[in-house]
């Protein structure tokens, strides 16, 4: 478990829960117990209000017209970029690109950096813990360029083997892409140390922060990562918006990923001159309201404090892990020493899909399946797992509801 700072003030979870209209929902006549936050988290009222305000009174296309609405939308959109910069402690706002999500950000780097700088025989290092969205974009560019994928293995607890990682480097290593927190197991990876190792070899690193940004304090300058990608909808924000942080010097030498309006300085049929970053990577009309609403979600989470959120979630994880360890016939998959509040598990004799359907009868929402991380499933020799993933608005009473519902599933299949 990650150590909890005893000086942090505990959350008033009951009060926070009142901010989330959806948490009052009944499912099959039972109070909703939402434990699928790693897939997408819920939106609190202040964030919903921000969305509504934009739709009602601030919408127009940005960076184009001189009228009031366009100027307002542009100012709010760029204000959101500043909020992102502060949230991840980027050196400059222009290093924070708006994307459609983590997947889009990773594809942007694979296409914008990889297609320009990878060649035949080059090697890209990934890890066993990666989500498919941090595997497939690299395979696509590797196939095109004749590059190779190398993979960092994990131990039986689901922790990356840093010594094995170190051995993968050679003169052909051109890039490292690794997750900050495993979506399938919850493992918090030693990104800082792994980035240092890569930099000793002059290799840039992309961090997939989709699962980390909502739960850990992210400081891209302290990490010294070259790229960091995350999504809005896992941060209590809307879908369709995400962020790619990139060091300015790297973004400037990359090729654009998409061509179109807003990303150019001048266009003739002979030659186009690209706009400076971030516009160079934001072709077309972006998801304006989504970006502004993401800014509100960042305000909301920052108002609570990510450190306090992390402390509460660590308490929940400890409580849930203890209850699970005392349940016969339930096996936890992923028992890393440093974990985010994700419990992947198997119920003996019951397929995860059946577990998920039956928990839903009790209003308990978990994810079942391969979690878009089939290499993790293969490593632990399971076709799928059940995954309960917590947010700061979850409670120990909800952990109890999960455990009791699981008991009923076991009884049915006994």
């Amino acid at each position: 478990m990650t150590a909890r700072d005893p000086l942090l003030a505990p959350l008033d979870v009951a009060a926070l829960r009142r901010d989330f209209p959806v948490l009052g929902l009944k499912v099959n006549g039972k109070p909703l117990v939402f434990l699928d936050n790693a897939a997408s988290s819920q939106m609190p009222q202040p964030v919903i209000d921000r969305w509504n305000l934009y739709r009602k009174a601030q919408h127009a296309n940005i960076h184009r017209a001189v009228h009031y609405l366009s100027e307002t939308a542009t100012a709010e959109y760029e204000k959101a970029r500043h909020k992102v910069q502060a949230f991840i402690n980027a050196a400059e706002p222009r290093e924070c690109l708006f994307t459609s999500g983590t997947t889009d950000g990773i594809n942007l780097v694979a296409q914008g950096y990889g297609r320009k700088f990878f060649g035949a025989g080059d090697e890209i290092i990934l890890t066993t813990l990666e989500h498919h969205s941090n595997i497939v974009p690299w395979q696509m560019v590797a196939e095109e360029k004749g590059a190779k994928i190398r993979v960092v293995p994990v131990n039986d607890r689901g922790e990356l083997l840093v010594d094995e990682y170190r051995k993968l480097f050679n003169a052909n290593t051109k890039f490292v892409a690794l997750t900050h927190v495993s979506n399938a197991l919850g493992t918090i990876t030693p990104v800082r140390e792994m980035i240092t190792i890569a930099h000793e070899h002059g290799v840039p690193v992309l961090v997939d922060g989709a699962q980390a940004a909502p739960h850990l304090k992210v400081d891209v300058q302290a990490l010294d990562c070259d790229f960091y990608a995350f999504s809005g909808h896992k941060l209590c924000g809307p879908t369709g918006i995400g962020v790619l942080y990139g060091k300015a010097a790297l973004l400037e030498k990359m090729q654009p990923y998409k061509g179109g309006g807003d990303m150019i300085l001048s266009v003739t049929f002979e030659k186009t001159t690209y706009a400076p970053i971030p516009a160079k990577f934001e072709a077309g009309t972006p998801p304006i309201g989504e970006a502004i609403t993401l800014g509100a979600a960042i305000d909301y989470l920052s108002g609570i404090g990510i450190e306090r959120i992390a402390a509460h979630e660590t308490d929940l994880l400890d409580y849930a892990t203890d209850r699970f360890n005392r349940m016969p016939g339930v096996r936890l998959i992923g028992t890393a020493e440093k974990k985010a509040a994700v419990l992947s598990f198997a119920v003996e004799g019951v397929h995860p899909h059946d577990v998920g359907s039956l928990l839903n009868d009790d209003g308990v929402a978990i994810r079942t399946g391969h979690h878009c991380a089939q290499p993790v499933m293969q490593r632990f020799k399971v076709p799928a797992t059940c995954r309960a993933s917590f947010a700061f608005y979850n409670t120990t009473a909800e952990v109890d509801a999960l455990v009791e519902s699981l008991g009923r599933v076991q009884k049915l299949f006994a």
Binding site: P352, H353, D354, S357, L358, G369
Partner: protein, 147 residues
């Protein structure tokens, strides 16, 4: 709908003790079925004697709905002609997608226990996968997918 109405005794029992478990060494037809979304993965093998299903077996990693469906399917089609078995495939698909009334005329017998999946859209594919796979085996196409 409450899925507990689907997890009836018969389905739980077939899940626990599947009939015709195991692949045939002397199969004349076989196919593999995959439900990529949830990871159901089964193999169906058949031995046809002329037009008649002489033997049928299955194996795989699957949820209770899929495994029970496969178990009851193999029991139902054994000894049937290929045409009758294929007709059952169609009837089963129609029932689980709401196009066939389980109370009306059909040849599905106790397989109507699966009629409730039509109200659980995420589980329809689990129940249908064995039937898709059987159909693929008959057609000699080796693989079936619910996607």
């Amino acid at each position: 709908m409450d899925s507990r109405t689907l997890y009836q005794e018969m389905i739980l029992e077939h899940n626990k003790k599947p009939r015709n478990w195991g692949l045939l060494a002397d199969a004349t037809h076989k196919a593999e079925g995959l439900n990529p979304l949830c990871g159901d993965h089964i193999h169906v093998s058949l031995k046809l004697d002329g037009e008649q299903v002489e033997a049928v077996g299955f194996e795989g990693e699957a949820c209770a709905i899929c495994k029970a469906s496969a178990s009851m399917m193999t029991a139902a089609v054994k000894g049937k002609t290929r045409a009758d078995a294929e007709a059952m495939v169609q009837e089963f698909r129609d029932m689980t997608t709401g196009k066939l009334d389980p109370a009306g005329p059909h040849h599905l017998g106790r397989l109507t226990v699966f009629s409730g999946v039509r109200d659980l859209p995420t589980r329809v594919k689990c129940a249908i996968l064995p039937w898709h796979t059987l159909h693929a085996a008959f057609a000699g196409s080796e693989t079936a997918s619910t996607e």
